[in-house]
Every structure is written in C-alpha cells, then in structure tokens.
C-alpha cells in the first residue's frame, strides 16, 4: 500500500481540499489549517484504513513543546531526548523540527507517514516473533 497516496486521499476527504496540493512536505496545521477536530477525524481514519493503533499525542507531535521544556529542565540534550520520545521520526527530521520550532506547529504530512510506517513495521516484527 502506498501510504502517501492513502494519506492524501484521507486528508483531501477530511479537509475538503484538492488531493494534488498535498505533498510529504506540507504542514498540516500551518498550511492546511487542520484544527483539533480534523486531527481527531484523521486519527479515526488512519486507524480504520491502516488497521493500526493510533496514539493521538504521538502521531500529531502534541507533546513536542512539552518535551522541549522537559529536556531543558532536566539539562538533557534536546535531540537525544526527542529521539527517545518520538522514535518513529528520523534523527534528521528531528533536527529539522528543532530548527523549525519558532515557525509554529511543525507537523508535516511525512511525519504522519513515518508514524504509520513505524507502527506497521513494529506490528510485522511482533507477528514474526509471535510465529
């Protein structure tokens, strides 16, 4: 299954927008104007289409700002802290996110894809272990 194509379809439906304006680099909140109720619907739709458990806080990076504060308070290296808290995002992407914090909500379509990818692969690994 092409995760990007599926996500584009879902987002186009939920936000009532044209499919082609959505790319992996598109900001969900900053650019597409997704509100909290749209994210609620998105989580339900992802759960249904990909048959994976969706943790709203994780997939939508809801606790990102909280992690930043925590890392500062605990004198932790921010990047290392985020790698631990958001394991589905690559190191490179987390670096970008840190650099982009000032610009507003950083959530991009590709972050959603990474989350789904991570969940699907974890699920597969677990299945193999089970067998």
């Amino acid at each position: 299954m092409d995760i990007l194509e599926e996500i584009k379809k879902i987002l186009a439906e939920i936000l009532d927008i044209e499919n082609h304006i959505i790319t992996p680099e598109t900001y969900l909140i900053r650019k597409l104007g997704a509100e909290s109720i749209d994210l609620l619907e998105l989580a339900v739709a992802i759960n249904s289409r990909f048959n994976i458990d969706v943790n709203d806080d994780e997939i939508f990076l809801r606790k990102l700002r909280q992690y930043v504060t925590e890392a500062k308070q605990q004198n932790n290296d921010l990047l290392r802290y985020l790698v631990e808290k958001l394991p589905f995002l690559s190191r490179k992407r987390l670096e970008n996110i840190i650099a982009d914090l000032e610009g507003g909500p950083t959530l991009k379509v590709k972050d959603i894809i990474s989350y789904i990818d991570f969940q699907i692969n974890n699920f597969t690994v677990l299945s193999v272990v089970d067998v």
């Binding site: 009532d16 609620l40 249904s48």
Partner: protein, 408 residues
Amino acid sequence: MDNMHRRVVITSIGVISSLGFTLEEILNNLKDENTSFERFFFDNEVVVSPINGFDIKDFAGHFKDRRYLNRGAQFCVASAIEAVKKAGIDKKLLAEAGLFLGAGPNLDIGGEFPDVKGGEIDRRDLMALWMLKFLPNTAASVIAKLAGIHGENQTLTTACSASLQAIGEAFRKIRDGYIDLAFAGGGDSRLSKSSILAYKKAHALCDGTGKPERAIRPFDRSRNGFVPGEGGAFFLLEDLQHAKKRGAVIYGEICGYGASIDGYSMTAPEPGGIWAERSVNGALREAEFAPSDIDVISSHGTGTLLNDSMEADLIDRVYAKRPPFIIALKSWIGHIAAACGAVELAICLACMKYNYLPRIRNLDEPCHAGLNFVREEQSCPIRNILLENFGFGGQNSALIVRKYDGLQ
C-alpha cells in the same frame, strides 16, 4: 427611537425547492406544473417530492465541516448561504446579524448505521464527531462560521412549525429593537428509508400506489395523508429604516406572528383547533389586522384527514365574514417538515411579487363548502398573506406578511 413601532422587512431570499432556486423559477414551474413527485426508490407504496441532483457544493463551495451535515442540515446551510450572498451586506453587518433557524432531527438512522446489530454502533470508520450529524445546532454553527454571523442565535426544533417560528422569533427580536437584522429560515429532508418508515408506521403518509402527482390532495374528501418533500429557505429580516438607509431591495414586510402549543396529543392536532386558532389570532392582533384584511391564507394543508378538517373549520370560524383565498403549497412541493414554513414563505413571496395564485392541486371535492379554496390558478393583486403551520406534537404558528410598495 421608539422601538415599539419598528417595522420589519425581508431584504434577501435564498431558496432551494423542488420548484426552483429563485422566485422567477418558482413562478414558472408553478405555471408549468413542473413538480417533482415520484415513487420512493425503496418503497413502491410511497410518493416523495425530492430535489434530485442537489449538491451543497453548488451553493456553499468546499468546506470541511460539510462532513458533519445530515441532508436536512445541508439544505439549511445551502439556502442560508444563498440568502447571505444575495443580501450583499458587508462583514461588519454580517457580524451583527442574528441567526434563527428551524431544524429537524436526523431520522436517517439506517443510513448512518447500516450494519448495527445488538445496539453496537461502534465501527472502525465511525467519525470521531459522528454525533454532530445528530445535534440540531450543527447547521447553525456551520452557517455562522461560513458567513461570519455572530449575533443572537436560536435553533428551534418545534417539528413542522419550526422554521415559521424561527422567522417569527427573528421578526420580534428586530421589531423590539434587540437587533437590526437577522437571517431566519430552515432546511429539512426526511426522504431516507428510516424517515419514511417512521411516517409510514405513524400512518401519516398518503397511499402512493396511484399516479405520484395525484397522491397529495389537501382539503379533498379523498385525501389520506401527506407526501414528504425536502428543501430549505432563508431570509434576511431587517428593520425598515436600516434597510432603507442602505438602499436594500424589499420583498415584503412581516407584520405579525403568533404561536401556541396544543397540549393534546403527541401527533394529532387538537380537533377543535382552539389552540391553533390562538396562534392565528395572535398573529392578527400583533399585526393589528382584522381577519378581513387577509387576502390569502397559505394553509398548512398537509392532506391528512385530521389536519385539514381542523384547519378548514378554523378558517371558517376566523374569517366567516369575508373568506380569503386559500392556497395549499404542499400540493406542489410535498411536506418539508421543519422547513415547510420557510419554503412556503418563499413561494408566497413569489406569488406576491408576480400577483399569482396557484391552484390547490388534486382538489376535486372540497371537504368543506363555503371556503374560498383556489381551484384554478389566477392572477390577482395580493396584499396580505397569512401563513399557517401546525406541527406534530401540537406546535402551532402563524405569520402575516404584507406586500411592501414603499408608500407606507
């Protein structure tokens, strides 16, 4: 300013009906007898009057909250946005405007939950906010968000009386000086399998086994029930001076409103029509009209045995001295439930504008002698129309609208 004497006029109309989307289209389709009566796709014994090909996007464009609108709410939003567009008022006035609407319940239970078994409605693709499709004020929230309306708001759910009452309530708020302008109306649709089942079980629908266009027969001896329709209509109501100052087009003036509740039955009207009459007399009193001032009654005229005999008796009592013309618009568009009053007002305004009265369709043998039922279409000047709507649960309302000729 003496608020006691504020006058309220209609300065924009948005209508989505099976007879058309503008007053002119409505007039032409009345004259050409272009109705949409057809057999219901799922039940051969039922006739409905749908608006085939309706797409809310044609009226309100793309917007994400569309997903939360049931079909009735879609008619509500589409007609409201039409009225907003045609009003031609700026953002500041829109922000001040009130919003009053009549809405019905979403009875499309089967369509919303096609696989429900054992009361288990949860499923993987159930929307997070599926409840919005059932909450009565969802349409109001969407209209306000799309149009930028932020004034006083009420959603009335008083069955088939709801949208006429919404217009009446908005009228009073403006007349009494609480607000200068308000959008008022409603939209509804009960053409789903589940809704039809509901009315069929209540024995409210007419026998639809004959010709579909002959099914609904208000005030005829052989009448045996109503035909469900769908649609919506909204109006901009405005203080007369406010409207004049901005040079608005004036379609008519609202002069009086009355409402009551029977306290009698969950479905049938109180047969003596005592409380329905109170709503009519209330509207006449508020307008400072004598019954003889009314030229035309736009009757509720559902084609059910009980409503029509109660209503004919009522008209006979109130207007004994000078019987006005009686029209029954449900014989043209079916019964649009919570939105019937709003859509019927739009058609009345078309009749008033073009001095035209449509006949009551399928009225072969009137159930009452001595009443002035319009049996043949006619052209005649119309000055004052009284609209009646009497809903399930004994909800009664009446509204008087007068032609505005700019001379008063």
